[in-house]
Symmetry: C2
Subunit: 408 residues, 2 copies
Amino acid sequence: MSHDDLERAGFKDRTRVAEALATVRDAVTGHDRTERVALGRADGRVLAETVTAPTPVPGYDRAAMDGYAVRAEDTFGASGRSPAILREDDGDGVVAPGEAVRVHTGSDLPDGADAVVMIEETEEVGSEVEVFDAVAEGENVGDVGEDVAEGEELYRPGHRVRPSDLGLLKSVGVDQVEVYDAPTVGVIPTGEELVQHDPSPGEVIETNGLTVSRLADRWGAVPTYRNVVDDDPNAIRAAIQRDLAKDVVVTTGGSSVGERDYTPEVVDELGEVLVHGVALKPGHPVALGIVEETPVIMLPGYPVACIVNAVQFLRPILKAVGNMPVPEHPTVEARLDRKISSDPGTRTFARVRLSEEDGERVAEPTRASGSGVLSSVALADGWVVVPEEREGYDAGDIVPVEDWEWSA
Amino acid sequence: MSHDDLERAGFKDRTRVAEALATVRDAVTGHDRTERVALGRADGRVLAETVTAPTPVPGYDRAAMDGYAVRAEDTFGASGRSPAILREDDGDGVVAPGEAVRVHTGSDLPDGADAVVMIEETEEVGSEVEVFDAVAEGENVGDVGEDVAEGEELYRPGHRVRPSDLGLLKSVGVDQVEVYDAPTVGVIPTGEELVQHDPSPGEVIETNGLTVSRLADRWGAVPTYRNVVDDDPNAIRAAIQRDLAKDVVVTTGGSSVGERDYTPEVVDELGEVLVHGVALKPGHPVALGIVEETPVIMLPGYPVACIVNAVQFLRPILKAVGNMPVPEHPTVEARLDRKISSDPGTRTFARVRLSEEDGERVAEPTRASGSGVLSSVALADGWVVVPEEREGYDAGDIVPVEDWEWSA
């Protein structure tokens, strides 16, 4: 059946994207499997614990300048004309009254000292040190816990660990963190016309499962890319049941209401189809369901429709079951060089190529507008999302272009 | 030495960031090591070849609709009142004059047929098919090569492979691609005060090497995180020489002009220091050099200074030697809730936390402004870059916030 037919046959009431997503998200919960990993393995993982600082930074009073550690009161009244004369330390490392100890930035402040005189304000004369400026108590000293106090709360559960976090965690003496396991997803391509290579006439090379698997990997999940399943309700049922142990099941193809679209029917029999048909373009024949608490995302088989729906539904659902935040897509602004049309009430994804023209960024919609032409995505630099409340954009409009493929 | 002292002692003429980077980039070339990998291993890798389509997509004329494959001329003049009457195929799969063959979307167009009548415009009556509307030659048929022509150039060297690219490549029958090896980088932390854990007074936990290693990994490189090297010219020399087999060497600490800052001196003796002291803040005491064609990035030891310089210099140099594009940092706009000061002529990095206030995104500069306070980066959501030509930003300004840590 063509998409126009589907309209007539089964998609009279398409759910809006936000509502469709909320319906599924409300039905899923984050998993609770965690592991303890060393910092070197924690980058990009999601914290499953609140992390507080077991030790302060700095861990000791330290010199904040190169110079001499002193008792501040010994320098009171010192000036260029009338320097304070201090003795170099007698060797015990303790600053007794009238003594000074040479220190470097970051050095442990010696016992007895309560300030540091900058090296420029001193002169060594034999075993004595002339100090040309007074310092106040605490001057040029970094106090214990000045950067991070002992017991300070640093991170909460759900924070996705970044390289600088690893540095901070290590600096306070944390060398392992409790993180959530990456969510798992079974990726099941369906369609008896699909082959892995060397297609004969009438056959098509399977690409949706590969693309969706790699996207899931980029989104922080562990995908299992399954073999192609024929358009057969029993085969589809068996494939879905096998992957119910995963956090998410995703199928590609067979999600519409045509005579060979069995997947929604099978899911509704095993569990419940929550949404079938969404007001987005290209790709409205998507279905979203739940079987035994496992969300099942049924993506359309047309490659562009498949990708658009994976980004709109699979990504946030993977993030939800994986207890992960959902970062915004990297986005740049560009001037549109041709009009984009859309139907009000439908969220529309227009693929564009970016270029520079007179120092300005220009977005050119790719020629092919259909849902089947993979090259319209794969040879594009991103897409412009036309929200439901707009009727397209005009040539010359400054529009946001989502580089959705590089989203964390 | 303090940073103020350095100013006086050795950094009178600081190079601007863009000029410093150009100086090093001009001195390095992309490496030429490549490997051939299966598509499943190619995500995120950089193409080392031009890829053209060995086969077209579709690879055969295909039905673009569910319906009947026909000879267009047999339908001419057909209408609801006066349907064309065709015979169902005699079983040889060839559409002879006056015949029709049932097809599904994507089916191979049978020999003899040149158009498809949509199923809705037909009715099966016994072994005959009534056609209620005429079709033109080619109607509802997807021609060979309509999406991708045979021999079409798809990608050029330097393209970083994305999931949708993998789908397109697979669809045209490409199952391996030639990609550049990931660039390698030796990460050498220096500083005799550094320990890996359990610091005594005067000791500091090593964090820069860990953070820089993980950043390099995110940027597509393969880091080797070396043991800490003492502040000793011989030890530093040996460590740098060992890593000259890498594409890039990066050191942390000892990059300034103080009495224990040996690294630039060692590099200048082994090769050449091209830049020492850059007009950025925090972190001006950075040095950039070349030894035997290997770039050596000498990062300051203060954690924030180290990170700022890694992003400004190590990242683009790794991309250059790895033949990789340099994507822009993911950036969001926010309203600044407090003034940011900066010196004209200096590129300044102000760390901010983001929050929502009355539906608006607000950026609050973190309290600590120094170069030593790692928490000012690690507890922030990104930074505002104040360019050289500005004197800071005012409270209320809408500023771009770079989420640099999630850059590809």
